[in-house]
Amino acid sequence: MYIGRVIGNIVSVAKIEQLNSAKLFIVEYFNSRLEPAGKYEVSFDAIGIGIGDYVLVCGGSAGRMPALTSKMPADSTIMARIDDFKKFREEYFEDK
């Protein structure tokens, strides 16, 4: 899984019907120093997140595991939200 931040979303009308109820967000991936890595992915929201949230993104066919995205072409799915990123970052660098 990747750590990333939700920086935007995508509006699309013309799409395959499996995408009709999909909520598509743009996630910027972080590198191992928890800094933006300049890599972007359009991910499926499976848990109800908002713009600016720090999230965990799962790639590959496992992206279709959640009920919400089971029928969608989900190759990148937001599976979790990091509630307190500040605390997470402090703890993350503490063990380094």
């Binding site: 699309s12 013309a14 713009i51 720090y54 072409p73």
Partner: protein
């Protein structure tokens, strides 16, 4: 999925059976601001888009087999949506 721009089409007469009847386009991946990120894919066009349009590419093989209509097709990326709008928000650093 990746954001990409359709930059051309591919036509081929001599090819394996598993890609017959496909509508292949060339897609160049871009970042949300539209700058190319250096990757190119030959994609099946699942929506019907033209050159220059911004699209979303999915490499989910179940969806691609369904779009192409051939099982175990060697095509590994397909246009699944045409992008109307890309919204980017400038976020202050929360941490």
């Amino acid at each position: 999925m990746l954001i990409a721009e359709i930059i051309g089409t591919v036509t081929s007469t001599i090819k394996v059976k598993k890609i017959e009847g496909t509508k292949l386009k060339i897609a160049r991946t871009i970042d949300p601001e539209g700058k190319p990120t250096g990757k190119f894919f030959i994609v099946e066009d699942g929506v019907g888009v033209g050159t220059g349009e911004i699209v979303l590419l999915s490499d989910d093989d179940v969806a691609i087999n369904r779009i192409v209509g051939i099982d175990q097709t060697p095509i590994k990326s397909a246009v699944v949506a045409k992008v109307e709008k890309i919204n980017i928000y400038d976020l202050k650093d929360q941490a």
